[in-house]
């Protein structure tokens, strides 16, 4: 079983409620942190003193504060952690349900588990810990389903993502073309930009470009 775990979570009720079920798994060395920066510091310190954490459970969103921070989200924390301790197992525990975001966590950051906050969170956290312990990836059933559905649709690459972001930022088609030229990206002509937007509209079944942007936001693509 995991020996030393860190819970990064700004909602104080969460680690409070989590302690009992974790103790039941005979995990006793539980540290908590309400700030991303602080969590990273604790991980660094543990590493230096040769008593590293072997599991990190982290939320994604942390409320802002008077304190100045370097890291502002769980995503940044995960990225930073992977750089200093790549073998640390990470389970994300969040209300995030937008498939695009979760997909990114699993594929780009290689987190070991994703548990959605809600009804069965105790049970799912336990399952997740046991699964990750076996070296497997944990993902709650409904997320798995969503991810499978997403597969078909989401061939949207990083260029499409950028395009959608620029649309949402208020750039006109020709301005997007200029932007693509400046960044030396492929398919940079006005005509190609138009075609791409059109393809995305078909892909996401959007009638107008306004709806396309709305869908992209709701799906967590941008």
């Amino acid at each position: 079983m995991f020996q030393k775990i860190l819970i990064a979570e700004d909602q104080i009720t969460i680690p409070d409620g989590l302690k009992k079920p974790l103790n039941d798994l005979s995990i006793d060395n539980i540290k908590t942190s309400q700030y991303c920066d602080d969590a990273l510091l604790k991980i660094k310190a543990a590493l230096r003193s040769r008593k590293p954490f072997d599991l990190l459970i982290t939320d994604l969103s942390f409320k802002e504060d008077h304190r100045s921070r370097d890291l502002t989200s769980g995503e940044e924390l995960i990225k930073a952690v992977k750089e200093i301790q790549p073998d640390l197992k990470i389970i994300v525990f969040s209300v995030e349900h937008r498939v695009g975001k979760i997909k990114k966590l699993l594929e780009a950051y290689h987190v070991n588990g994703y548990v959605e906050k809600g009804r069965n969170e105790y049970k799912m956290i336990i399952e997740a810990i046991e699964t990750v312990l076996k070296g497997e990836i944990y993902c709650s059933q409904n997320i798995k389903l969503l991810l499978r559905n997403e597969e078909e649709i989401s061939q949207t690459d990083q260029y499409d993502e950028l395009l959608l972001q620029l649309l949402a930022k208020g750039l006109k088609r020709d301005q997007i073309a200029v932007h693509f030229k400046e960044k030396d990206l492929p398919a940079r002509s006005l005509s190609s930009i138009e075609k791409r937007i059109n393809k995305l509209k078909i892909l996401f079944d959007a009638q107008t470009s306004e709806q396309l942007v709305a869908i992209a936001i709701y799906r967590g693509l941008i």
Copy 2:
């Protein structure tokens, strides 16, 4: 002090963590519910048996489930509760930070307090309960600030909201005009619709209608 309170919250860790501070306020009769429907039933039952709740603490978002439900969100729960027991004090406890949504809760549904989940949630819940007990409205400091900033901008009425919703749903300008005609709403001509959209773009400093929709979503207006 409040005698009998109900916590509606699908994250099981929350009421677990909340019980201790509530007991410190000598609130002992605490019921919990993981479903909106169930919460409403409990409130109805308590009312019938002449032992009504005098405080409801509720989240806004509830995860979906296999169970079929009538009520699916805290907002609907609040609306339903206000109909059967208008004097029940309500404190909303949520991660929602989009001012538009919070504004609506306070102004349209007259909830008695809003506490944002996060760092100081224990303290803020306590403060909220004490404030509401005095018959006042509680709202955390940062939300108050946000609301004040919002005041200047948000003269957007329900028609503007509908218009933005229709834009996000993929209707073209002339289709929106038709829709407004069908619903017998004022300023229903294509020209008026265009003018309204233009005014909204100026109001929200959007360069394109795509950006306008994005801003509306991010602000929680739609």
